[in-house]
């Protein structure tokens, strides 16, 4: 048989193989199913998508949940992913990031038997205010206050020009609350300290050069500590600190969201935002049947949703003691760090 005759036959055979096998449908099971829908940052962003997936993994380990991650390639995937997650029988669906806010709100109204949660977005700001959804918000200014306080103490010890730097991703509330707390904490330790603030307008790791540039400029202006609040992009800002972490007054970097002490000796500490804990709490509430929508879960220092990461051994223990005293005051409500700049 010539190839010309065989080609259509082969095509038909291949198609038939595809078609005939397509009848098996998913079987229904009674196990608790939980899912997360990422934003376009994908789950390897070393930031909240990654942390949320950690929370989901914990739900699998500790709650025996059958879990699934839906990665969004573009905006056109958000709503279909959120809807498909519900159709696939997931009882709890976590949307990571404010970019999904509108679509999550729409999906929640369409699938009232599925519980939704969104990271970094208050429920009250949702378009349709669905009763089967909650917002997971973070009082990051509390962590920001502590790392800012510690940074100012270090700058005072090192002497020289009293300047700190902060590099934000975008000028949005979930970035600005970190920086506002950082600045207020720094001023608490040293009233005359200056805090330089810059924005890269990017979170993606592909733009880390942009964050580095901003940080280098701040270092030129005398910044002794660089606090990054820009996700993957911000790793560039920490690189700038690393390159200048030498001499009499080494420049320090402060990580964000996850504990970024693993990046090297130049990391003073990290302001941690435990998205994984928040995600796990949401999943476990839905699993136990105690989920009540229409409100926010606010994560603070007090309930362990915010924290401070590993502190460099170069920091004098007295500073850590002082910082912990401040931490107690924040938990007691004696100090209220500002959330806006």
């Amino acid at each position: 048989m010539s190839i010309r005759k065989a080609l259509p036959l082969l095509l038909i055979a291949a198609l038939a193989a595809v078609i005939l096998g397509s009848s098996a449908s998913a079987q229904k099971s009674a196990t608790f199913k939980a899912a997360m829908v990422s934003d376009t940052g994908n789950i390897n962003d070393r930031s909240f998508n990654f942390l949320a997936s950690q929370g989901l993994a914990r739900a699998h380990r500790k709650l025996g949940a059958q879990t699934r991650i839906y990665i969004s390639k573009s905006k056109s995937d958000y709503l279909p992913n959120l809807a498909q997650a519900a159709r696939d029988g997931n009882k709890a669906v976590l949307a990571t990031g404010f970019l999904l806010a509108d679509d999550m709100s729409t999906a929640a109204t369409q699938f009232p038997n599925t519980d939704y949660a969104i990271v970094d977005f208050p429920w009250v700001a949702l378009k349709d205010k669905p009763k089967n959804a909650i917002g997971l918000t973070f009082k990051s200014e509390q962590s920001g206050y502590l790392v800012g306080y510690l940074a100012a103490l270090m700058a005072k010890k090192q002497g020289g020009k009293q300047v700190l730097g902060a590099v934000g991703g975008k000028k949005i509330p979930s970035v600005d609350n970190w920086i506002a707390g950082y600045r207020a904490g720094a001023k608490k330790a040293n009233r005359r300290i200056q805090v330089k603030i810059g924005y890269s307008d990017e979170f993606a790791i592909g733009f880390s050069a942009k964050c580095k540039e901003i940080a280098l400029k701040q270092i030129q202006q005398g910044a002794q500590v660089i606090f990054q609040v820009a996700g993957g992009c911000g790793l560039g800002a920490l690189d700038a600190a690393k390159a200048n972490h030498k001499g009499k007054r080494p420049v320090w970097g402060i990580g964000v969201d996850a504990d970024q002490a693993y990046l090297g000796k130049h990391i003073l500490t990290s302001g941690t935002k435990k998205v994984d804990n928040a995600a796990f709490k949401f999943f476990s509430l839905v699993k136990s049947g105690n989920f009540r929508g229409g409100r926010d879960f606010v994560f603070t220092l007090k309930n362990g949703g915010q924290g401070v990461g590993k502190i460099s051994p170069k920091v004098p223990p007295a500073f850590v003691t002082k910082m912990n005293a401040i931490k107690k005051l924040i938990i007691k409500g004696k100090i209220k760090p500002p959330a806006t700049l």
């Binding site: 595809v18 056109s76 404010f98 729409t106 949005i172």
Partner: protein
């Protein structure tokens, strides 16, 4: 890359003269090469699936195929499967709609010998103007409002590409350079317009960097599926109608004739009395109009709002403007070809979304890469179409000889 191959003349079957036989093979190659290259790309993609993930490529492709929703056309699938297939097919056609238009945009410029690489920017310009018109002027009644948004959005795309066409026609600035530069102007313009404290930023929720929602009466009618969950809107028919418009303008109007003549040979066309500069400008403007239309239709059809990340994120399904180049290449600049190429790319984008790929079948983190892999292979092989035609003809020369040998023994 700039010169398009001459269109084959009309004629059925291999004729008597050398010229007509050559034309027939070209026509045959015109249909066969895209088909063969696509099948080949999927085959190689399957090998990669097998080698990298050690999963069965057939089951991966089956999941992708079901994910596209094309199994909806099969009469024997179960009721539950059909419901799911309907959702998926709606998503696929939703992506096909802008791809048809951006494909037309690239193809139209191609026919004039121009390479409009700025489809993404023109698409964005159409979206921006579309969302602005549809979210303001809320007093207008639905239909004229929609028409106005579509007209102005298309004009925005046409104007943007027209700048590149004008520059090419007057000072000879190459359109590849100018259209790419214009892309970035639009992307960052959107960042300013819809960004924090931007002039068009939403008044509903100040933490969101996006536009206002468009007026509810400007939503395009959804004729299939749930209008709230991105059902299929009438924009699909607008796109299909544009395929007809494209064919008519190119093949049945003076303007189309002039544009094709300029595409074959600008010097000869100019010598024959055709205004080459005018043809360049109009070809680019019409091309941009198609891309701008795609942008408006997406906004009125399912986006309803435009965010900064939406305009500036250029990965995956966000890059319909760039994918239009691939669609035009695979569709060989013909209306029918563009329809099927757009359908293929739309299906590929939707089918490889990891919501359709059970982690047991394929690792979801690799799903996007599989899309890119197959797209890349299709383009690579399309570029090698001359080789495929050569092999095809070589085989035809070999077969009769073999037959002769077997019959003689």
């Amino acid at each position: 890359m700039l010169a398009t191959p001459p269109a084959p003349p009309e004629g059925e079957g291999p004729g008597e003269t050398v010229a007509s036989r050559f034309a027939f093979y070209q026509r045959a190659g015109g249909v066969l090469t895209p088909l063969v290259t696509t099948v080949f790309a999927f085959f190689i993609g399957g090998l990669v699936v097998l080698l990298i993930t050690h999963k069965n490529p057939i089951s991966t492709y089956k999941a992708i195929f079901n994910g596209t929703g094309l199994n909806w056309f099969f009469p024997w699938i179960s009721h539950a499967d059909r419901i799911n297939a309907a959702f998926n097919l709606q998503s696929t056609l939703l992506l096909t709609t802008p791809l048809i238009l951006t494909g037309l945009a690239v193809a139209f410029a191609f026919r004039a010998g121009l390479f409009n690489i700025g489809g993404q920017g023109q698409y964005a310009a159409g979206s921006i103007v579309g969302v602005w018109v549809a979210s303001s002027l809320t007093g207008m009644s639905g239909f004229p409002h929609i028409v106005l948004a579509i007209l102005l959005g298309s004009l925005a795309g046409a104007g943007l590409a027209g700048i590149a066409g004008f520059l090419r026609a007057t000072v000879g600035a190459h359109e590849v350079i100018t259209t790419i530069m214009l892309n970035w102007i639009v992307f960052w313009l959107a960042g300013w317009l819809f960004g924090q404290q931007g002039p068009l930023q939403t008044s509903r929720e100040r933490s969101l960097t996006q536009s206002n929602d468009i007026a509810p009466n400007t939503h395009l009618h959804v004729w299939w599926g749930n209008p709230i969950l991105q059902g299929l809107h009438v924009g699909f028919f607008i796109a299909v109608a544009m395929l007809v418009v494209y064919w008519i303008v190119l093949n049945r109007t003076t303007l189309g004739y002039e544009i094709r003549a300029v595409g074959y040979n600008p010097e000869a066309a100019g010598y024959a009395g055709i205004d080459v500069r005018r043809a360049y400008f109009l070809a680019m403007a019409i091309s941009g109009g198609f891309a701008g239309l795609a942008g408006v239709i997406d906004v009125l059809g399912w986006k309803f709002v435009l965010s900064v990340d939406d305009v500036q994120g250029q990965a995956g399904a966000g890059a319909v403007g760039f994918l239009g180049i691939a669609v035009a290449l695979l569709g060989r600049n013909s209306a029918v070809g563009i329809f099927f190429a757009a359908l293929l790319f739309g299906a590929l984008l939707n089918g490889t979304s990891d919501r359709h790929l059970d982690p047991a079948v394929f690792p979801p983190t690799l799903a996007e890469n599989l899309t890119l892999l197959i797209q890349g292979l299709v383009l690579l092989f399309i570029g090698a179409d001359i080789l495929v035609i050569y092999l095809w003809r070589a085989r035809r020369r070999v077969v009769p000889r073999k037959l002769a040998r077997t019959s003689s023994t």
